[in-house]
Symmetry: C2
Subunit: 350 residues, 2 copies
Amino acid sequence: VPTIAEVAERAGVGVATVSRVLNSSPAVSRTTRRRVLAVIEELGYAPNAAARALSTGRTCAVGVVAPFITRPSVVERLRGVSRRVAAADYQLVLFDVERPRPLAELAGAGRLDGLVLISLAPSEDDRARLRAAGIPVVLVDADDPELPCVSIDDVEGGRLAAEHLLELGHRRIGFVGDAEEGPFGFTSSPRRREGAARACAEAGVELLVRSGPHGRDRARALAAELLALPERPTAIFAASDAQALGVLEAADAAGLQVPQDLSVVGFDDVEMARYAGLTTVAQPLEESGLRGAELLLAALDGEPGARRRLPLELVVRSSTALAGTGMRQEEAVRSDARGSHRQDGMLRLT
Amino acid sequence: VPTIAEVAERAGVGVATVSRVLNSSPAVSRTTRRRVLAVIEELGYAPNAAARALSTGRTCAVGVVAPFITRPSVVERLRGVSRRVAAADYQLVLFDVERPRPLAELAGAGRLDGLVLISLAPSEDDRARLRAAGIPVVLVDADDPELPCVSIDDVEGGRLAAEHLLELGHRRIGFVGDAEEGPFGFTSSPRRREGAARACAEAGVELLVRSGPHGRDRARALAAELLALPERPTAIFAASDAQALGVLEAADAAGLQVPQDLSVVGFDDVEMARYAGLTTVAQPLEESGLRGAELLLAALDGEPGARRRLPLELVVRSSTALAGTGMRQEEAVRSDARGSHRQDGMLRLT
DNA sequence: TTGAAAGCGCTAACAC
DNA sequence: GTGTTAGCGCTTTCAA
């Protein structure tokens, strides 16, 4: 593997000149530059990243910490980060954490210039150490008073879901979501529940809440509980699409037809939701990663942090229907001139 | 950020001693070690990775190149790699490539100790440059005569799928798969087709082949073609689960019931297949990544490369049935004492 | 416009 | 056991 010194010697110049060419400094004559470039090409030379990092103090690599890389929503966000980071010619160091770990352990100096955390809240200790190390951090799918972050309004999302069900005439509405405290000290489920509960309360309806650990199987069990109630709910809002699929399974197991006997609303709009025909509150997943990466890159350029709020949109598919009738909203809309959602562009029929 | 020199000074020792402690060399007295460790703790010192890499020539980071990080099968493999790599205290640099790119561009020296390629075949040029750079490479989900790799027997997989359909009595069998040349110069679809075609030929049945670019939508269109044939196939084998889902959609659009009117077999057994009740040829996806990482780690320790072949297993769910009857295999098995597959453990009923 | 040389923080000989 | 020191390959003053 050739070094800068060999290139310099071969080109009959000093190493500084080669370095200038490498970093496209204007202070090199055209002819010298050409000569150096020729030698670089000839030798197949590429600068050693470690040496460069040591010298400049910048690694041109950012870390991404994500829990459960298998969750489709996380993967889509990750992809967004990856694209943006690659476009800026940074490298992406991936940490797929299965349980909370001190971030400083991961982000040792000289390795990473910054950190993107997906669906994860850093501990007080993490914050302090990263600040001390001068490593900027941005949060994706998490909210924070002092860190740049990109998030959605979970309360509003819960409200969107509940209002959709209420407008369809449902009065017994269930909620299936995560336990209040996820393993990473963070979950958006409670806020989604809160939004839904508020909307229900305003309509004089009580939200029947069941929550437990994340996962489709768990959600299936919780939904089964709900469906076994004496006064069975006619609609269930799940805190995520994964959980909504569990609800669909529970309905199936209970011999209930969706949407005739039960309406189901999810959250996220992952690919599987599209396939399952699930009505859901869609959030721009890949874009969230993209924006997060953008904020981090900006921070690396010394720009001040900001918080981005991404828009939500209710996507109506075939898992929700008018209470009692089993009529799909699109059919209902024909005879129902209100179409209130239509006007603000929040409703999309598929 | 403290350096090794500050630690040394504060502990009243030389930098070499601190370095020895850091690298747990036995040549340090217990008392000195304790003192040094105390200072390290006190200062919150962590060695600079770039400096270490420059000095040792090892980065303790491996690269993973994967196309279409969104494909669930790729994600599961990636997760396997990630787990193994993390367990060995290596870092994982992720390259989510959307189109073929020279690998040398990514793996500049001083950044990566080795490379895992997922569902990707390196070009001749890539091989040469990586060999020159002394960067070991292992392939996951690809076969190669000269590189360590972990793969499956695609031909055998295709055969498993076709034999299942043949045993169910199907005589008009379709195949939906990828175009012969994927964008990355590599696709397993043709070999799966070949296995299926052979099994069919042995049974005196002709396989009706349709292939095009990857993707569910594309597969849906191809399946629609097949279903519009004068003599419509009663079964379709798709080269991947994603494509099989497209086939299911096409069947639905054509007003056909699965499995009564059409049996469908996929390949991979991604999570969605489980959800969709798809009969499929399962391969251990996460394990493939795990094994790949293991091979790379071994190579980094100077061990010779090897090739691992992972087992396949037919998973029968509810998308396949006896030709003409719509009876599920589990029902059929009761009256059909052969259960030939059963004996070699290749059949699993769910 | 160019070159010489001083670091960047660490490891690993080598000497004591 | 421990300290001194010479690199690792690059960037970046500082002179010329």
